[in-house]
Amino acid sequence: MENIVSLKDLVVEFEDGERILKSISLDIKDKEFVTFLGPSGCGKTTTLRIIGGFLEPTSGDVFFEGKRINGLPPHKRNVNTVFQRYALFPHLNVYENIAFGLRVKKTSEKEIVKRVGEMLELVNLKGFEKRSVNRLSGGQQQRVAIARALVNHPKVLLLDEPLGALDLKLRKEMQTELRKIQQALELTFVYVTHDQEEALTMSDTVVVMNNGLIQQIGSPTDIYNEPVNAFVADFIGESNIVNGCMPEDCVVEFMGRKFKCVDKGFDPNETVDVVIRPEDVKVIPAEKAKLTGIVESVVFKGVHYEMTVDGVDHKWIIHSTKAEPAGSMIGMDFDPFDIHIMKKTEEE
């Protein structure tokens, strides 16, 4: 697969000297579903706007199919955008909103009828042609926005938190639907979200961003199972993150106790972040355990119980199918490969 969009050392600096992007380099492959994931202000939308042509980077290059496209205005780029709050044209009905891009390009009426018809079918809005967009539900507006972008047959579709305004059930439906559309049309989707679950379920590749820097690029499985640092681990699902150090290879010390792990290659006694997923904490009888804590609260989450356990310096989050009563003392243990050791990030 070849790269369709390449970003090289993008930096965006605002007039007041604030750096929104510090140095973003990324290759996006053709027909790939890429998601930029990160908290608000991390630079994910800024990066998307640079690809769309709405923002010029202070420095760095943008390539589209190998050609440098810095300075090319949005209307000359072969990408289309689904905007955060849809940005439909309030003076046009559903049909004319979808036909807008084709009319601008002076497409023949016959072709417009055909392509808008296809789109209406694709997004399940047949019969809504004459409806004013102001009288559509959020989900329907969303579909119009998607159809309006896709009707132009872009090579890349940019989506800026498109499901943010929808309720949970509709979001789940649209997630599946968007993924289906992407695969059926064999398009490249670049998707921005702050919702880690959305990123993990839809994407081929997840790009985790924070503070204007890419933290990790990888498949959802990689990102979840092998986070490269404490930020990614914490952002992708809940995690227990504690300070530790590495007295020797395959041994980590935290909270005054030594545990076996599978990581090596650290400096002797290097301080590290120790990350353990809530579901990887094994509950054992207190008297047999190196680490103990008192159960503070138990919440039933459907598949499992979520317990908050007060250790010495850390409140542990534990997911277990068996609940221990609040107030009881429990012991905790971990399998060596469930203990993730991460180098401290230079920043923060």
Partner: protein, 269 residues
């Protein structure tokens, strides 16, 4: 809500006494002679001033068109500025309105006069003198100068509500800046265009001070004609009322046509 309705009562009373009743009186005057008998002579006599009507409508239309062309880009530019700068710019736009209307127009007399500042400056480089004052051009200039803010404000207030992302969507879908203007901004600012045109055209067509100060004898407008019937030598309030009534009908007709271009939920009258 019911209690609040009571608060609108003072204005309702005011409206009946000082708006509705006078309009009825104007109509009564227009259809009566000085002895109080019914007549349509007043109305039919308006016909002999047709040329003044045409001239007034023509000058008001030109002034309105110039205001629209000048204001549109300014209003758009204003609406896209950073919020805190918009306030300052808007104040500058409004600034002339703080100066007395007569004084403003009088200032133009001294600028445009045969021995005025403009002719003096042109003379220094060997041009002129030109006849600037007492021309139709001077009247139109006076109208544009005085009524420009009334065009900018409604345009600005409508454009300010156009979401930035809608403009970005248009660019994203293939519009160059000109196409963005005509396919998105103009249709969405139509209510502002309609109300701006109304706010400039109506005072411009009925003005009498601007034409008297800047237009000289050859630029008699409807406003002057009406004034002459009430305060001038040609004293005839019944003819004056008839002219006023005809003017009202013309304005009403024009506004009805204008409203056809406005979305249904934003009708002006």
């Amino acid at each position: 809500m019911k209690q609040l309705r009571v608060l609108s009562l003072p204005y309702l009373v005011w409206m009946v006494i000082f708006i509705v009743v006078p309009i009825i009186m104007v109509a009564v005057f227009a259809f009566t002679t000085s002895d109080g008998n019914f007549t349509i002579d007043n109305i039919s006599n308006v016909g002999q001033y047709a040329n003044i009507f045409v001239h007034s409508i023509w000058l008001a239309l030109i002034a309105t068109a110039i205001c629209l062309v000048l204001s549109y880009p300014v209003a758009f530019y204003l609406s896209r500025m950073e919020k805190h700068k918009q306030g300052t710019m808007l104040m500058i736009v409004m600034l002339p309105m703080w100066m007395n209307f007569l004084l403003r127009t009088y200032a133009w007399m001294t600028l445009l006069g045969n021995n005025g500042i403009i002719n003096y400056l042109l003379g220094l480089i060997g041009l002129g003198p030109f006849k600037l004052i007492n021309t139709s051009g001077a009247v139109v200039l006076g109208m544009v100068y005085n009524y420009l803010p009334f065009m900018i404000l409604p345009l600005y207030s409508v454009m300010q509500k156009i979401d930035k992302s809608v403009i970005e969507a248009a660019r994203d879908l293939g519009c160059n800046p000109v196409k963005v203007m005509f396919r998105v901004i103009v249709p969405l600012s139509l209510p502002g265009i309609v109300s701006g045109i109304t706010m400039v055209f109506v005072p411009a067509i009925s003005t009498f001070i601007i034409s008297r100060m800047l237009g000289g004898g050859s630029n008699l407008l409807i406003g002057d004609l009406i004034e002459m019937q009430f305060l001038g030598n040609a004293y005839d309030p019944h003819l004056g009322a008839a002219i006023a009534l005809v003017l009202m009908v013309i304005i009403l007709a024009i506004m009805t046509v204008m409203n056809q271009f406005s979305p249904d939920d934003q009708v002006l009258i």
